[in-house]
Amino acid sequence: MIFSSAVFLFAFFPVCLAGYYLIPKSRLGVKNIFLLIMSLAFYAYGEPKFVFIMILSIFVNWAFGLAVDYFRGKAVAKACLIGMGAWNVGIFFIYKYLDFTIINIDRFFGLRFELQGFVLPIGISFFTFQAISYGIDVYRGTAAVQKNPLNTALYISFFPQLMAGPIVRYNAIAAQLTGRGGGFDLENFSYGVKRFVIGLSKKLILANTVAVVADRAFGAQAADPQAVLTAWLGVICYSFQIYFDFSGYSDMAIGLGRMFGFRFDENFNYPYISRTITEFWRRWHISLSSWFRDYVYIPLGGSRVPTGRLIFNLFATWMLTGVWHGAGWNFIAWGFWYFVLLTFEKLLRIPERAAKTPWIGIPYRIFTILCFLCGWVVFRAPGLAEAMRYLKIMFGLPVNGRHFPVVSELALFYLKDNWVVLILCVLACTPILAVLTAGVRKGSVGLNKTWDVMGTAGLIALIFICVSYIVNGSYNPFIYFNF
């Protein structure tokens, strides 16, 4: 079930909301059980078979968590943690990478192992990483063990962040599972509504609209981009699509969480205004990059190590980040691309220099944009060869001796047909509205009042516009459901 579907918005959500608030606020345990049941139903709606895998995974992680806590301070605790990690990585590997591994073993060693054809359970990358964070947090003692299996289950399967994050750390939410207020809080709830509506609008109005151009340029429905301009438009549209799609989902998840009394950390912070690649990754998919930082990069030694070790740490972290996104050489190449860029920045201390020196900063900002655009080409293309082909067309290089025109009628049509949406995308991926709001807040009471009325009216208009898109729209799943 996706948040931007009619069944979610007009059937699942009202039932869930009504059920939750009809339970007396003193019965938080009952509310949690209700949310757990609804979360499993939410997952089962699209993937009925995999709900059993999730339940099994929850039980195993809960049991391992108890064992880690019980044997705390002994070698057995570490063994239990390793067992827990092996279980999570194991199911993750089987469903996500087994066939990819078999294909490559067969290819490189000339063998003929049979493909297993497992279908990837939606959200496995997210809930598995949440489970791993639970085990490590309990082992490190940064969070208390959860003795109630139902609370562990709710943490892993809570529907707002189940399918596509943000990856919620156990230590960030443990206290909220049992200690949040169960009553209706208007301020929290209205903030949740606001975030949900903003997220829904990002997805339906911006991401889905530019996705059409991106899909056509990358060959989902047509051949390769037939002109240099189409290739550039395609990757720009894809950059906006993936940002508004994923940050829209995160907004909706944060908003829904808030409506049920939970506070999730932010997952995006205007990544496209970054001055450096390092800054980009501090602003993009924050829950994943901080997960790898805290559970992989820092345990490996982090930055305060000799250069060789630093390069290895960065390599390991970024190859894992690439692989996490999917079983394909293009994802590995994408991870490697960022390893190279971040190593370059780290060794030359680019972030510090760019901050201090404007004449480095401005060209470097343009370089940063080009880098993540090229990165998205590798990420989006169906394979590495197609990505290279696409990049050649983008930069006007011949492909198999064929030169592509700079402009075509179709490219101009895409541009004319999307110019307003593209302007909206540029505005929406910068903090211009937040800056304006901050400016207004310093102004007179009257101006503040007008601004608030305009903001509320705008959000109400967006509610109706989003409903009109849902009523009209076709099925359009979120990109990060694939990971």
């Binding site: 007009f10 301020e187 429905q221 004319k416 009042k449």
Partner: protein
């Protein structure tokens, strides 16, 4: 004090936003919940893990297709897209051209398959001495009306390479023409006048072949018809509302003033209908005029979507027998053509068992001529005649 006021303001605007959001979500749920529950109940006995995803798709459709406020919401969607200056909608399948007319793209049009299908039909009938005419309908999209028409295949577009290949293989091709408005603004179908023009040009071809087509002077003189016009909202309105399309179409219905007597027979569907032109071939649907609810009722000539049916003209007994292989672009054309023929058998290969019925007709059917006319790529894709 200032902080308290600010909090109050936030609470007030938050309250309004929350109330509107809940009202929209819960109010609309109420309107449609019974439909959802009835679908769920109907589906429950048959739900298996294998088909649940397919079924959930239908539940979602139940919510979107049968929304009580669907029409104003679709209007709003169109208005937003007007504001965004969007010319393409629905994943690039529907487009509005420079004359505000709907165009529909046909992704992945397989020209070779289409050529092969028409050539096989032509050769098979030629072996039995039956002439075949391929009709290319008057083009609704031109380079002037849509600048990317050379790069994208559109529904009902004229494809010169396709027609050249057919001509070089010996297929008779009619590049039909029509003066005035060729196509509807809000749908992919031709105007009634254009379909009448196509029928006239087919009749002229039949006569050139020496085939006994009768009363063409009477049939193709519009003075011999009563005309009625209805406001028609086609597919583009269904997708984007009335304001995006800047109004609807005037759909013209023509009723012969001369005497007519037809039987339409669809054995597969157990349907036999006899009466004058209006009550046999026009299906009588125009009396119901619920055009907004189902715009195709007004277009519902003949027996769409059956794969095969035969029109017998009792006023032209002994007249020519025509096989008309077509999709829905030619339904009015076939009806007008039937006015001067003894019998017209219509085969739409897209209907149930349509391909097999076409092969049967190709091998054993007794006709004086065969007409082939299809606007959509699925018309050609469903023809597998090897």
């Amino acid at each position: 004090m200032e902080e308290q006021n600010k909090k109050k303001k936030i609470t007030k605007s938050g309250l309004v936003l929350t109330l509107v959001f809940l009202a929209v979500v819960i109010f609309l749920t109420g309107w449609n919940f019974d439909r959802f529950v009835s679908l769920l109940k109907a589906d429950l006995p048959g739900i298996t893990p294998e088909n649940v995803i397919w079924r959930t798709g239908s539940w979602n459709t139940a919510y979107t297709e049968y929304f009580r406020f669907r029409e104003p919401l679709i209007d709003l969607y169109g208005v937003v897209n007007l504001g965004l200056d969007k010319k393409s909608l629905d994943n690039f399948t529907l487009l509005k051209d420079s004359e505000n007319k709907m165009q529909s793209t046909q992704e992945g049009f397989d020209r070779l398959h289409a050529e092969e299908a028409v050539m096989i039909l032509s050769e098979s009938f030629a072996q039995r001495g039956i002439p075949l005419l391929f009709v290319s309908e008057p083009p609704r999209v031109t380079e002037e009306s849509f600048p990317v028409s050379a790069e994208v295949h559109f529904f009902g577009s004229r494809d010169p390479e396709f027609l050249r290949a057919l001509t070089e293989s010996g297929v008779d091709v009619l590049e039909a023409a029509s003066e005035g408005e060729v196509a509807l603004k809000t749908d992919m179908h031709l105007t009634t006048a254009a379909e009448m023009d196509v029928a006239r040009q087919i009749a002229e071809w039949l006569k050139r072949q020496g085939i006994d087509y009768r009363d063409d002077d009477l049939i193709f003189d519009l003075a011999n018809y009563d005309a009625a016009s209805h406001l028609f909202y086609g597919n583009l309105v269904k997708s984007s509302g009335r304001y995006y399309t800047l109004g609807g179409d005037d759909f013209e219905l023509l009723y012969p003033r001369f005497e007519t007597d037809f039987t339409i027979d669809n054995p597969e569907g157990n349907i036999e209908r006899r009466g004058d032109f209006r009550h046999s071939l026009m299906n009588g649907m125009e009396d119901q005029l619920e055009i907004n609810a189902n715009p195709y009722w007004v277009l519902d000539y003949l027996q769409y979507p059956s794969a095969r049916y035969t029109i017998t003209n009792h006023k032209q007994e002994g007249g020519c027998k025509i096989l008309y292989v077509m999709d829905s672009v030619a339904m009015r054309t076939a009806a007008y053509l039937a006015l001067g023929a003894g019998e017209v058998t219509v085969i739409d290969p897209r209907g149930a068992n349509g391909n097999a019925l076409l092969i049967e007709a190709m091998n054993t059917g007794d006709y004086d001529a065969v007409i082939v006319e299809g606007g959509g790529q699925d018309f050609y894709f469903t023809m597998n005649l090897y």
